[in-house]
Amino acid sequence: MEPLAFAYGPLMAAVDMYHQCAQGQLKCTFITAGADIAGNGISEAEVSARALIKAGIPTQAIIREEESLNTWESSRHVGEILHSLKPKRVVLLQSAPMMKRSLLYLEHFGVIAEPMAAAYLTTSHTNMSATGLNFLAAEVGFQEHFDIWRYTLYNYLGWNEPKEPPLALGELSQSST
């Protein structure tokens, strides 16, 4: 198994961040999330972790969250991990079209993450001109907007679980946000 095409942008960004951490001899932790949704016997978190290890990130720097079936659950479980890990700073490495929703969900579970976007999806600034690409971008765009509207509606109706208080981070993160 390997990560789906969309996942490589954030994974490459993670590798870049690891090199910066290693260069500055800084302690950095990488949290990969996702259960075995497809029923292949291996979780998304493990597939992502293997890709990161293959790219040179040591296995002890990676924490796998293997229970979540969607972004909402990932945010909840990653929030729990971060509450016990208590890092000074949290960075979300995410594909650009999915960034807004992921930040919203994480914030709901008390994690104010710094965004670092990767894998921008564009239809005009590319030499790959295809109607299929336009439909893919429209599909992703509508889905993301729909999920954000649904989150807002559920919040309004009180259908979402209660919002968690912000995670207490170190001084560095507070000054940078």
């Binding site: 969309f6 800084l26 950095c28 932790t29 807004k100 429209a138 765009g141």
Partner: protein, 83 residues
């Protein structure tokens, strides 16, 4: 799914036309044709992507610091073909 919706609306339009339900036919055909053109011309996808992606940078706001946690959400898996 969008393409299916547009196609379904187009079929509804054609059927409505044959049943002489002119208002439903006009509306369905108009929405399906406009929907297809707005996506195929890349106007709608560009607008949606602009709204979602523009606020975010591919760089960190400040250099990486000690004790940072990086979160990578799962974005699907696929069978490792040819290996």
């Amino acid at each position: 799914m969008l393409l299916n919706l547009i196609f379904a609306l187009f079929i509804v339009g054609i059927f409505s036309l044959s049943l002489r339900l002119n208002k439903i036919a006009t509306l369905s055909l108009l929405v399906s044709v406009l929907g297809y053109l707005s996506i195929a011309s890349s106007a709608l996808p560009e607008y949606l992507m602009e709204r979602l992606q523009t606020p975010y940078s591919p760089r960190l706001q400040s250099p990486v610091t000690d004790d940072t946690a990086f979160v990578v959400f799962g974005m699907g898996t696929q069978k490792d073909r040819g290996r």
